[in-house]
Symmetry: C2
Subunit: 194 residues, 2 copies
DNA sequence: CCTATCATGTAATCCGTTACATGATTAT
DNA sequence: ATAATCATGTAACGGATTACATGATAGG
């Protein structure tokens, strides 16, 4: 069983099916959007293609409805559950990178005028504020929901999400300030270091 | 000019060539490793393939050395510089996601025993501690280096990196604690919710 | 009944990665 | 010379994204 070919997205599917029971791609999409989607999203099409692969690996089974829409319903097999558990149990270091295009722009932003940098920083601040609000809304809805499973860890990941967004807001706000200062001190031309 | 086909990695190449002058793929690799690589890495092969595409788009020019190794030296064209500036100036919201496989595991870790969760958390803590040390080393070397360009923003991105690693360490440490508590309170079997 | 929307799939493409393979310098 | 390492490329593959295209159901 070639389990080395499984990507994190594969495990999202395996995990959701294992915890929430059999589902169609469409239902999976709704599950993703309501949980992991906020920090591990992927396009809808993947939810139609990827399960096929998992079936061919023996990790899922596919059943088609008889009537009407004849849609595919996927369930995890024992092998699938095993693969999921193996992945979960494997604490080998996983490279994490702050892969943020905004930071990347900032890195090269020295080529631009300070005013531009400030704008970028403000836009990023807004973005993270929005995101924070979303997370807070979800957190609120979590608080009211009852506990499921042994210990519900989705609140934990959300806590990290909240903390990260707050950090980002603080960072970009300071960045905007710095840029404005720099701009005021030396109102540079638009072609500096062109 | 189809600039919509440029990925962030393309802009890394454009940006480095624009700020550091003409370079070969190998030199680019060293530049990446010494700067953006710490938060936007990609494999070496990309540095041989991607520039070709950028040449075909008219954003770079390629010159081959005459003697010996005949290696390719790339330089940005005016069009390339323009594309870079356009990207930098475009503050359209850029989706950022905390795409961290460790968090993903944590999200589904409820299926495992608390002991396993604690292990995961400890492994992640170590990982981020290492990362933090690296960043601190780089920061130290930055402090001694002289200022370049109008305002050197690479220190700014590094500040965010440092803050993010510290946050991650704090998060995973707490997570380890919680898991240990849960484990002590209810030393669960290995097959809970199997 | 017909239309809007909900739902479902497929095909083509592309970027990034891994693996393979070789050429040039340097040092001993 | 020759080994070791530095440097340079290419080919194949695969997951992810976009774009395309159609089927079913509910509501007016």
């Amino acid at each position: 069983m070639n389990t080395s070919s499984l990507s994190p997205s594969s495990y999202v599917i395996l995990g959701l099916l294992a915890t929430c029971g059999p589902a169609t791609p469409y239902e999976l999409k709704k599950l993703v959007d309501g949980s992991v989607g906020y920090f591990w999203s992927f396009p809808r099409a993947q939810l139609y293609v990827e399960p096929e692969r998992l079936v061919s690996l023996g990790l899922l089974t596919e059943q088609r409805e008889e009537g009407g829409r004849r849609r595919r319903v996927y369930s995890v097999t024992d092998a699938g559950r095993a693969a999921l558990m193996a992945w979960l149990a494997d604490e080998a270091t996983i490279a994490v990178e702050l892969r943020d295009a905004g930071l990347l722009k900032l890195h090269f932003a020295g080529m631009m005028g300070a005013e531009r940098v400030a704008r970028l920083a403000r836009a990023q601040t807004d973005l993270h504020r929005q995101r924070l609000e979303e997370y807070e809304r979800i957190a609120a809805s979590f608080a009211s929901a009852g506990e499921g499973a042994p210990r519900d860890l989705s609140m934990d990941t959300l806590r990290m999400g909240l903390a990260y967004e707050r950090l980002s807001i603080a960072f970009w706000e300071e960045e905007a300030l710095r840029a404005e200062e720099a701009g005021a001190a030396r109102p540079q031309s638009t072609t500096e270091r062109a």
